[in-house]
């Protein structure tokens, strides 16, 4: 199998570095951006970094459990995106902006 020959040359540390970089980029986006939609997208990016790492460990250890966990993470991400976007539409309908710094008015 030609794919397996590629896979044999890549160490798992490369996947760890790649997903760490992806996670850091997502964290940077969450801290830096103010648009709430882009914040949600950066959270999706961080979840995908974790998914990639789960898959890499699952494949390298020959155990299918990690890929099952990736399914569950996808489910949680889908539910989070649906509810988060619904809340975002509601906030936009009331305030005409999607700026997260505006939401500090929620405090008591």
């Amino acid at each position: 199998m030609s794919l397996l020959s590629i896979f044999n040359q890549v160490e798992i540390s490369h996947y760890i570095y790649l997903s760490t970089v992806l996670f850091s980029i997502g964290l940077f986006g969450v801290l830096f951006r103010r648009n709430a939609i882009i914040l949600l997208m950066c959270i999706e990016l961080m979840l995908n970094a974790v998914n990639l790492l789960f898959t890499a460990f699952s494949t390298y250890m020959g155990d299918a459990d990690g890929q099952i966990f990736v399914f569950f993470i996808m489910v949680v991400a889908a539910a989070e995106a649906a509810v988060g976007l619904a809340i975002l539409v509601l906030v936009y309908r009331n305030t005409r902006k999607t700026d997260v710094s505006f939401l500090d008015q929620l405090k008591g």
């Binding site: 490369h14 882009i38 999706e44 099952i68 889908a78 509601l90 902006k97």
Partner: protein, 197 residues
């Protein structure tokens, strides 16, 4: 802190030999993934950001194919690039946010965010340097196919699987309930200060 720096120097020595005998497809895919995810974060236009994120998901699916997780690659394409990102795109179009409406943050926010994300990257990398190669390479063929995954999902993980169904139902009901237009919308901006504190 000093130990961290010395560890980083050690890993810097390793970086020279790290990229030598990597296969070209993996390098190209990783480069494209990091580049497009950087564009997601830095792009001014939210629509460009969504499209870059879809491209990132495509490259991550290609990584899954390289990792012999074929079913996961297909599911990633269908669920993420097909469903979730289309939802994001719909909301962007509905709210008419495609133009630049985001107020510009000051440079201090960028510097602080860079320092935070960079230090997390440094610390995780250093921690991995300490931990070392703990994972034995034990590849098993056909682990990412539907047959093997379904067997695990419907025997050992059947209770979490059913629970995710309940979670989906709750999320769907919540999204519909939130999105429903009410007659008397409670306005978030207080018009005048009421007596309730």
């Amino acid at each position: 802190m000093l130990a961290l720096i010395s560890l980083n120097a050690k890993s810097g020595l390793n970086f020279n030999t790290m990229f030598q005998n990597l296969p070209i497809p993996f390098l190209i895919l990783s480069f494209l993934t990091i580049l497009s995810s950087l564009y997601v974060v830095t792009s001014k236009n939210p629509v460009h950001s969504v499209l870059a994120l879809i491209f990132t998901f495509f490259t991550i699916s290609a990584h899954y194919v390289l990792l012999n997780a074929q079913f996961l690659a297909v599911v990633n394409l269908i669920v993420y690039a097909g469903a979730i990102m289309v939802l994001f795109l719909f909301v962007l179009m509905l709210l008419n946010l495609s133009k630049e409406t985001e107020p510009v943050k000051s440079n201090w926010w960028g510097i602080a965010a860079s320092i935070t994300a960079g230090s997390m990257l440094l610390i995780i990398t250093a921690a991995f340097q300490v931990t070392g190669e703990a994972v034995a390479k034990n590849p098993v063929e056909g682990i990412g196919l539907v047959k093997a995954l379904g067997k695990v999902l419907f025997t050992r993980f059947v209770v979490p699987f059913e629970l995710t169904g309940i979670l989906f139902l709750a999320a769907m009901v919540g999204a519909v309930l939130l999105g429903k237009r009410e007659k008397n919308n409670a306005v978030l901006i207080p018009k005048e200060e009421g007596g309730n504190s």
